[in-house]
Symmetry: C2
Subunit: 407 residues, 2 copies
């Protein structure tokens, strides 16, 4: 009987995954599965994939981004263009029996070929578009409708999100799809062939939230309304000392508290509208914001925070990444633990945001590129020391990161 606490927190213990990936979605999927207890081996070409130098970088040019999205994995590097390298990797895949990749369309990773030796393979391919054509978060996002309704009402042109939201969603959907397929295989012995298109994630979401349906059925779409919330009352306000706050009144109680706090009750009553209805609060947003603004403008951020905390109103102070990094919600949050990351330094790193039986799985370091090549070939594929040395000599595999060019 396994330790109950350990295994509830690591429900994918014993699951073995090979990840051939780059950028955000597939690496996040692999990291998320590793946080659930899976053994995830990220396989890269010697020297690293296209994301190995992605920003943000340290002052020494090491990728904070890469280590951030590959925590808790093992790393194997091989010459993925050489038949001998491909053969080794396909042996790793069929040994582990789960392949997670965004490297679609490579013959040697073909589902039919892999299932010839491993019929119960679970293969998950992340595509740009469902037809196999290339797309990335920033291009997918352009077609979704969101950038044209983001930002100030009087702004012309698109405003892209900074958060790569589609990549992130796609990554967690991928982890979900693999976990569900594992459950199916546990029960039936059958594998699954899964594809996820980044564009489909975005289209499904625009549909699920009703924005496409509103356009299709009503012949109109939601307008660009700045930081207001469509169909609700929410707005940002600025304090006397120039700090911004987001303030949201989702319920009649929130709204009543906000009008009382800002001394606007009589003026709001004089509008003679039914503000228990969220649509009414939205339609009157401009005059409401006008009524509430002086209260914020005449107070410091500290005064505002103290006063809002005594109400039911939903609110938050805007923070920069720099402010957030030293805020108690990071420094005193059990989600974050001190991580010593080779090549990067020591910092507070997030573990799994999923808390099971009261605890988060803490962050583990990302591997150095190629760190586990030798041990994986030996322990997984049973290769002898001599065979591994020969593969090194012929540059089919590599153990260490290459020298980085000075920049």
């Amino acid at each position: 009987m396994p330790n109950p606490a350990t295994s509830a927190a690591q429900p994918l213990a014993g699951v073995r995954i090979v990840e051939i990936s780059s950028f955000v979605a597939a690496p996040l999927a692999g990291m998320t599965l590793a946080q659930l207890g899976a053994d995830v081996i990220r396989v890269d070409p010697i020297g690293g994939a296209a994301d190995y130098r992605r920003w943000p970088l340290t002052d020494d040019g090491e990728s904070i981004y890469w280590t951030g999205l590959n925590k808790g994995k093992r790393s194997v590097t091989a010459d993925l263009r050489a038949p001998a390298g491909q053969l080794l990797v396909t042996r790793l895949i069929t040994d582990g029996s789960i392949l997670l990749t965004n490297a679609a369309g490579r013959d040697w990773l073909d589902y039919d070929a892999l299932t010839a030796t491993r019929p119960d393979l679970i293969q998950l391919e992340i595509l740009g578009r469902t037809d196999g054509s290339a797309a990335v978060d920033y291009t997918v996002n352009a077609a979704t409708g969101f950038p044209l309704v983001t930002g100030p009402a009087d702004h012309e042109g698109p405003i892209n999100h900074v958060l790569p939201a589609w990549d992130l969603l796609c990554g967690v959907y991928a982890a979900l799809a693999i976990t569900a397929a594992v459950r199916h295989r546990d029960a039936t012995g059958q594998g699954s062939r899964i594809t996820l298109a980044l564009e489909d994630i975005a289209l499904a979401t625009a549909g699920n939230l009703g924005f496409l349906t509103e356009a299709a059925l009503c012949g109109r779409q939601r307008p660009r309304v700045g930081n207001a919330i469509y169909g609700q009352y929410g707005q940002h306000f600025t304090s006397a000392d120039s700090i911004c706050f987001m303030v949201v009144a989702l319920t009649p109680r929130h709204f009543r508290d906000l009008t009382e706090l800002t001394g606007s009750t009589a003026a709001v009553d004089a509008l003679a509208a039914d503000f228990t209805d969220e649509g009414t609060r939205y339609r009157h947003r401009d005059v409401l914001t006008g009524l509430f603004t002086p209260w914020f403008r005449e107070r410091t951020a500290e005064e505002i925070g103290t006063a809002l905390a005594k109400t039911s109103v939903l609110w938050e102070r805007y923070r920069s990444f720099e402010e957030l990094a030293t805020d108690p919600r990071v420094t005193a949050n059990p989600l974050f633990t001190l991580l010593r990351q080779p090549g990067i330094g020591e910092y507070l790193a997030p573990g799994s945001p999923i808390s099971v039986n009261g605890a988060h799985i803490p962050a583990r370091p990302a591997p150095r590129l190629g760190e586990h090549t030798e041990s994986v070939l030996r322990d997984r594929l049973g290769l002898s020391t001599e065979s591994i040395a020969a593969l090194h000599m012929s540059s089919i595999v590599a153990n260490e990161p290459p020298q980085r060019a000075a920049r």
Copy 2:
């Protein structure tokens, strides 16, 4: 032996979930689990939860939003303030053995109380913050750092995302956590108590992507750079006929193709920088954009699209929700099927974005509020027709949506 195609696509068949929810994260989690084959019963107070009238609305005032996020579930309504209503719902929960909720802190949904009758319960609670205090996507987002670096470089003040990205991510993480816990229970018979804080999802993501780490280790953070991509070359351009395009060059090949297409090769070479390095492309983004802009400004959107399609460059035309709703990427996409949604109409609705063995699970209608109250009480809890009638008489349960007030 179950039909292999059906069960790989429905790996959660036989899993029974009670969802007590509102807004985005928990309803999306439930819908996602239903798309994987789980039987999801959404339980609401009589008259609906706080999200029952959320925008977008049809011209008749019906919530497109609510039906969009509750597709494929069953609906039970009960008086959740009355002990008799609470008792019925706890019986449903212990019968199904999985509770998904964002209604944290209610005594009658206490984990210890529920596990007294159902020791293998899986309970997933979505919180605003990890300390149990309230927060919603819009307030969580304010603290993450993203709004202060979104939008035009010369903009002052925050720009919120329109996509409720944290809610969406939280919903898919929740579906993942439940699926993993089901696998653990299949193997060990043990339940799990899971919590997910919306704020933790956001903080973990800001950390995973490196933005917090950059601030913590390097004492600086990424700037606001408009629609440019931090650390890469990407920008939006406008055609002669005022259509915007997002254009991205992630690799040296993309970049070479973009310079050749726009006739900028000689001018780019004259900059005498190593543009095979993504950071160099980013640092020179303003002059590069200046060099590329005339080519776009002098061509129609159609000419631009035709020319870009012949290159490796990643690109997309910006579209409104209205344009997208009639675009072939929706109308000719197997992800979307015609859905007849009572109360809303007939429209193309997205199924599961996860394609298994070559097929998507198509969209199923959302229930009418309370539609399944009677059948669930009868079939799940074994209540007699007389008992159900008595519960109706005393307004402990309801079968039909209440009359909607004219608006």
